[in-house]
Symmetry: C3
Subunit: 155 residues, 3 copies
C-alpha cells in the first residue's frame, strides 16, 4: 500500500526522467539523521540527455522556469529510487536554486518557482515549501541552465 | 521579561526594516529539529524597498559591507517576527554570504563582515560567529548587491 | 593510539599546509550536534600563500583539479587542528565545490573531484563520499580558483 502523498504523486501522471548516475565522486542522495540530502541536480530529460543554455541569453525567464521544473522531476527520480514512496518524506526543508544566468538577469525566484511549485503539487502548500535561496551562478556544469540541491525531512 | 541577549539588542537602538514577504514559493525561515534555517535575504530598507547594484562597479567594498549589514538587519526582522525574543537563539551556526560582484572583485569576506559583525554585536564574539562562506555570484535577484542565508541553533 | 583511518592518513605521506586563520568574522569549523561544519576554504600552499587564478582562463580543468585537491588538504589541516585524529569523523556528508570559472567553463565536477578523491583516499569509497554540488562562481575572494565548504558526521 502506498501513502496518500504517493497516491497523489501517481495521480499527477508526471513523466519522471531516469535518475541520473553521479557525474563525479558524490552520492545522489544521503540520509543524515532524520534528513535526506540531495546533491545538486540538473534537468535530465526522459531520454537521459540534459537541457542546456544560459537564462537571459538562450532562454527567457519562463523557459528557465520550465527547466527548473525538469530539475525538480529529476530530483523526484532520485528520491523515488532511494525511498520508493514519496510519503516517506515529511517535508521539504531547504532548496538551493542556482541559475546559470546572464549578469543582468533579475528573475531568479521566478525561475526556481518551477521546482518549488512542483514540490507543492506533491507535498502540499505547507510541507512542500521550505527555506530557499535562488541565485545566479557564473557557470554550471555542461552549461545546464539550472542546478538545484535540496534537503528533506523524513517521516 | 526579555532575555539578556534581547535586552542587549534593544539597547543597540537598531532600525529594523519590515520583514520581507516571500518573493517566491518559500518560507522566510523554518525550524528543523533544534535549528532555525533562514532563506536567502536581501537588503530591505526601512521603507520596504531593496538596495541594488553590483559591488566593484556600482558600489565599492565598504559600501558593499554596509549593504551586508542591512541584509543582517533584514534577517533580524525575520527572526524577530518568528521568535519574538532573540535570546531564543543559542548561536549562529552558518552564514552563506553571496556578493553580486564584478569578476575582478577580491574582497568578499570584507563585504560579508558587515553582517557578521552585526551578529557579534547581538550574540557576542563566540555565539555570534559560525562557519561561513563568502563568495561572488554571477547575478542576484533584482540586482541586489548581497544575499545571505543563515542557520541558527535554538536554545 | 590513533585510529585505523588516521593511520591510513599518516601512511599516505600527504604534505598538509598550515591551517588558515579566519580571513573574516567566522570560525574555520563548528560542531553542531553530531555534525562538524567547515567554512569555505581556499587552496593554501605549504608556505601559507594561496593559489590564485580563474579556471578556463589562467588554469585548465586538470590544473583546477589539483587546486581542488589542495583545498582538500587545507580542509584536512583545519580538521586535524580541531580533532587531532581523522578517525573521529564517521563520514563525509556534504561538499559544496565552488569554482572561479569563465562563463563558458563546463567541467566543474572534474575540478571538484580533486578534493573528493582525496577524501576517498582517507575515509574510503563509502564514508569518504557525500552529497555534492559543483558549480561556477562569478568571483571568489582574492581570486582563488576554488573554494569548498564541507560537512562531516562525527563518530
Amino acid at each position: 500500500m502506498s501513502s496518500p502523498v504517493h497516491d497523489r504523486f501517481l495521480s499527477l501522471g508526471l513523466v519522471i526522467p531516469p535518475a541520473p548516475p553521479p557525474a563525479g565522486v558524490y552520492k545522489p542522495c544521503l540520509q543524515v539523521g532524520g534528513l535526506l540530502h540531495v546533491s545538486g541536480h540538473g534537468p535530465v530529460l526522459p531520454d537521459g540527455t540534459l537541457m542546456v543554455g544560459r537564462v537571459g541569453r538562450d532562454l527567457d525567464a519562463d523557459a528557465g522556469k520550465l527547466v527548473a521544473r525538469q530539475v525538480g522531476l529529476t530530483i523526484l527520480a532520485t528520491l523515488l529510487g532511494h525511498l520508493g514512496d514519496l510519503g516517506r518524506i515529511r517535508r521539504v526543508t531547504r532548496v538551493l536554486g542556482m541559475v546559470n544566468a546572464t549578469d543582468d538577469f533579475l528573475r531568479h525566484p521566478h525561475v526556481i518557482n518551477g521546482c518549488s511549485e512542483l514540490f507543492v503539487e506533491i507535498w502540499g502548500p505547507d510541507a512542500g515549501v521550505g527555506v530557499r535561496s535562488a541565485v545566479g551562478m557564473g557557470s554550471l556544469p555542461g552549461n545546464i541552465p539550472v542546478e538545484i540541491e535540496a534537503s528533506f525531512e523524513l517521516a
